[in-house]
Amino acid sequence: MVIAVFFFLPVLAGFALSFTDFDIYALADLGNLRFVGLANYVELLQTPLFWKALGNTLYFVGVGVPLSIAASLGAALLLNSRLARFRPFFRVALFAPVVTTLVAVAIVWRYLLHTKSGLINYGLESLGLAPIDWLGDPHWAMPAIILFAVWKNFGYNMIIFLAGLQSIPEELYEAARIDGASSWQQLRHVTLPSLAPVVLLVSVLTMAGYFQLFAEPYVMTQGGPLQSTVSVLYFMYEEGFKWWNLGFASAIAFVLFVLMFVVTMLQLYVARLRETS
């Protein structure tokens, strides 16, 4: 019931809202509210910043999700190795960034990435590389945010992968060893295929999370430089809660939702194709 009232109803209301010109005048007096049909969507599609935000978000998802999953899987494989020592310690250490407060660590990373006094550039320089203006250069701002996001999130999926790895029956590995498979072949032909359902789950969850990019640009770059880190959600926040164009912002939220839905369905479809082939 509570979820129905405070979640489902608002979702429907949000859909309705996106067909109105709800703005600061309507906020003051509901009499100013007008039904505008698809006007918000039409306007949205003609707003260059929306396309920019969409592109930035897709960039973040397209690069960030595979990187993040690769890091999680790598860490899980290392942790699951029989040769690994101090496993409980490493497990907790690698998971620690996940429980930290995003705003606080975003501030920490902002300083790590600082052009002049940041440790990351100091590291680059001591390797003989030129310093990078991470958060000030439109080409580097999104990669910097991706690096931060991977650091923050990889531990979460790592735990899920670990559980997946531990549920692979030992006999499969034994059989492979008897057939003379090297550890690389065991990884390719036993571990990864058995892990496929977990990979699907993890990529659906991670993708959904990464589409909701907001606090990182809010704290680290405020959408800059040159709007290179404006995400769809950041755009929605500014339109909705800074300029109070709530009808327009609802349209943004719905486009994001439809996009996420389509991408998720696509993933499930591809996974099913693989299964049957």
């Binding site: 979702v11 300083y111 790590l112």
Partner: protein, 273 residues
């Protein structure tokens, strides 16, 4: 004991990964003890020359940190209590009580996981505004009242309560409420601890919703206050690192104490949910 090359490689890689994960946190702690301006030097210092608590003193004396800390603590505690009550009742009902449309409603709930919370944010804001709850803690708490994740987690666990036990109690004439309080809740205790940790951490770390609902500075939670402080004090690295430490340390400690339960709860809810 001698280590094989493979063992050295794997453990070396683990150490590198742990350094990658922990270094920003250690560095934050170290810089927070530096004198103002010290961290802006080049090359950046790793350890403070003369450790000082000046940044923490400044935060609590001048920037009202104790107030934000208390706000966050109060909100997270309330959220935990409320979410426990609602999620446990709902999760138990979905697992054990027979009512019309039970399976359909639960499936609809699971399906709704794909809907991003932000779609509901704008109308929810208007709803709260018309109820006069904007800029109050009640407004902040509304979305955590019950969560799909929490209900699924409790349901999963409650399914394992034997029906005979509940039937026996009913035969003995116990009321449904009595059964819930004296049989169900004690049996579910481990999952309650997990759920409590999740809710507490989640509320403490949440940013976007409190940012939207709270406009009065004196009501700010730590993340919201920290974000606004960092816009004012862009240059004061040491002060901001101290602020980050104050924000992160409580939840990190809580996690360390309860990590066993937390991680196993993540699996119970994440993989099967």
């Amino acid at each position: 004991m001698k280590l094989s090359p493979a063992a050295i490689a794997i453990n070396g890689a683990l150490i590198a990964a742990a350094a990658f994960a922990l270094f920003p946190l250690v560095w934050m702690l170290s810089v927070s003890f530096m004198a103002p301006g010290e961290a802006s030097a080049f090359p950046p210092p790793i350890f403070p020359q003369e450790p000082t608590l000046a940044n923490y003193r400044e935060l609590f004396a001048r920037e009202g940190m104790s107030r934000y800390f208390a706000n966050s603590l109060l909100l997270a505690a309330c959220a935990t209590l409320i979410a426990l009550t609602f999620n446990v009742m709902a999760g138990y009902a979905f697992a054990k009580l027979r009512f019309k449309g039970r399976e359909e409603i639960f499936r609809a709930l699971l399906g709704a996981i794909v809907i991003p919370a932000q779609v509901a944010m704008l109308p929810l804001f208007l709803l709260l505004k018309s109820m006069g709850l904007v800029n109050t803690y009640a407004g902040v708490l509304v979305p955590v009242l019950a969560t799909i994740f929490g209900i699924a987690l409790v349901r999963q666990y409650a399914l394992s309560i034997p029906d005979e036990m509940l039937e026996a109690a009913r035969v003995d004439g116990a009321s449904e409420f009595r059964i819930f309080v004296s049989i169900v809740v004690p049996t579910l205790r481990p999952i309650l601890a997990t759920l409590a940790t999740f809710t507490f951490l989640g509320t403490w770390n949440d940013f976007m919703w409190p940012l939207i609902v709270l406009s009065d500075e004196s009501l700010y939670t730590l993340p919201v206050a920290l974000a606004s402080l960092s816009r004012e004090h862009v240059q004061d690295n040491e002060l901001m690192m101290a602020g980050s430490v104050v924000t992160i340390l409580p939840v990190l400690l809580l996690f360390l104490v309860l990590q066993r339960q937390y991680l196993s709860g993540l699996l119970a809810g994440g993989v099967k949910g």
